[in-house]
């Protein structure tokens, strides 16, 4: 679902980024009010879950790949506002270091995955729970699953719409699209079918599994508990949670099993050969060909000729460590909620 560089017109990118600015402002303010100071570094661990979830690519119908985002999961652990910040920073790292998603399209990616996904996912969860926050039974897991499924599909829908309006708005003199060449009739089914069938299910399993694990081993890390104010001032060690992160890091090479490129994430060199509805596109859109792109350090989580599995694991460690460092640094100036 990461929209790469040059697939969206700069104008679209500008609009999406402008839309995100007030959201980020609101999220920072709310996190400062709601989340206790000593919990803010733990948001980095939530962002790490999201980062790792996005590294597990699963093969989808039609030769493309997809992945979980984990936005709803972070919303369940630290609240939707913290989830917005966590996913945004995870996306920023991916764009800057690993070339996953563009720099210009960063605002659009954040809009889909850091705004729509966690807020919708959490709203659905709340709706199903109907304000009952202390329920221990299976209902909260069903609610979490449904929330994450609806969240990721709505995010995919928005991404599809952003792709789909490009050829309608931006064309050159010959009628060829300047940026993404597929209109809504192609992009919506191409994005939605795989997400409804596979990626949504992966997100659902990912969310429920980790949510259940965290709820069992560190119940003080769930948003319902944080929100109810039952936070103790004593420092708790979350060793099982870190152990889970380590296990996920070790398992990331599984994501390499899916070899295709996700829909809408092709490089400028492959797009002309993509087959849609039985015919190839046959041309490379000018915006893609001559567009701006940043040479990142580790494109596609690898470095040149090195062993893919080693590179993938090392990328995962670097990404997770950077996220934890960033959120630990963020926690210094943050005031956070006072614990009674």
């Amino acid at each position: 679902m990461h929209i790469p560089e040059n697939y969206l017109a700069p104008a679209t990118c500008a609009v999406m980024t402008a839309a995100m600015i007030p959201v980020w402002g609101h999220a920072v303010k709310k996190v400062n009010e709601v989340v206790p100071k000593e919990k803010i570094p733990m948001i980095g661990v939530g962002a790490a879950f999201s980062f790792l979830g996005m590294m597990f690519n699963v093969p989808l119908v039609g030769g493309t790949t997809g992945h979980a985002v984990g936005g709803t999961l972070i919303a369940l652990l630290f609240g939707p506002d913290a989830a917005c910040l966590a996913v945004s920073i995870a996306l920023l790292l991916q764009a800057l270091i690993f070339g996953d998603g563009g720099i210009l399209s960063f605002g659009a990616n954040c809009f889909n995955m850091a705004f729509i996904l966690p807020y919708v996912g959490y709203a659905v969860y709340k709706l199903i729970m109907k304000g009952k926050t202390d329920e221990k039974g299976a209902k909260s897991f069903i609610a979490a699953g449904v929330g994450s499924y609806v969240g990721i599909n709505l995010a995919a829908f928005f991404a599809a719409v952003e792709f789909g309006i490009q050829p309608l708005l931006f064309k050159d003199a010959a009628g060829n699209a300047l940026y993404c060449p597929y209109d809504l009739s192609v992009s919506i089914p191409a994005m939605m079918i795989p997400h409804l069938v596979v990626a949504g299910v992966v997100e659902l399993i990912f969310t429920i599994a980790i949510f259940a694990f965290v709820k069992k081993v560190s119940p003080d890390l769930t948003y319902d508990v944080i929100n109810s104010g039952a936070v103790t001032a004593e420092k708790k060690k979350h060793i099982p949670v870190f152990a889970l992160v380590a296990v996920l890091i070790a398992a990331t090479p599984l994501g390499l099993l899916a070899t295709g490129t996700a829909w809408g994430e092709w490089g400028a060199d492959e797009i002309a050969e993509i087959v849609t509805n039985g015919k190839t596109l046959g041309y490379t859109p000018t915006g893609l060909e001559s567009g701006w792109s940043l040479d990142v350090l580790m494109p596609d989580y690898t470095l040149g000729s090195m062993n893919e599995i080693a590179a993938y694991i090392l990328s995962a460690i670097i990404g997770v460590a950077l996220l934890v460092i960033i959120f630990k640094l963020i926690s210094i100036p943050m005031k956070g909620r006072k614990t009674a």
């Binding site: 040479d295 090195m306 062993n307 997770v320 460590a321 210094i332």
Partner: protein, 237 residues
Amino acid sequence: MIPDWMNEKDTYVPPKKGGAYLYKTMRSMGLIMSRITIQTGSEGKINIPAKWKIIVLLLSIIAISVTNNKTVLLFFAAATLLIIALKPPEVINRIVKNAFASGIIASIFLLPAFVTNPVGRMNNLLVLIKVMLSISLVSIFNHSTQWNHITRGLRCLHVPTVFVFILDITLKYIYVLGNFINEMLTAHVMRAVGKNKDKYGSIGGIMGVTFIRGNELNKAMYEAMVCRGFTDDYKGL
């Protein structure tokens, strides 16, 4: 009988910002002192002996600087970031600041190459990363090892005794003389009123007294060492 001048109303108002320089000096002195004293408390319960840390640190820095293999570099980057991520936020802040400061200096050096040779940009970036990694590793070592353990570790590695001795005494004297300077500055601030026109004079005074004091301490220590059997030979230390 009260003299006239005692009955006169005093209209002297000390100018604002008087002594700002002294306060600034005191603050920076205090910062250095606190950095040295904080050192004693930063080791965890389980600690690798300083000598192994020094060996690993040196080998890592050599490996980082000579390697052309990106996998090795990536491994070191991952390991360094992982260690930093496990530190408390305040320590991370200091380590990251050091790393970025060194990165900025290195990038100033590399700027001409960056501008004139676009082909080698990726290579220059690697040099920058190597610098920042090495500095981060040294910072981590610094923040997780006490001064006295560092000197002991160096001795275990058969670094010449004179060197270890000088390093150890220097570290201790930075603290002793720093405290002395701080006390003198405090005394000076308490006695100074208004604006000090002769700032450099006061610096000279303090430096001079500190030098004399250092000499005295030096002599006293040498005598104390001789009294305990020191024969101008550092072997037995």
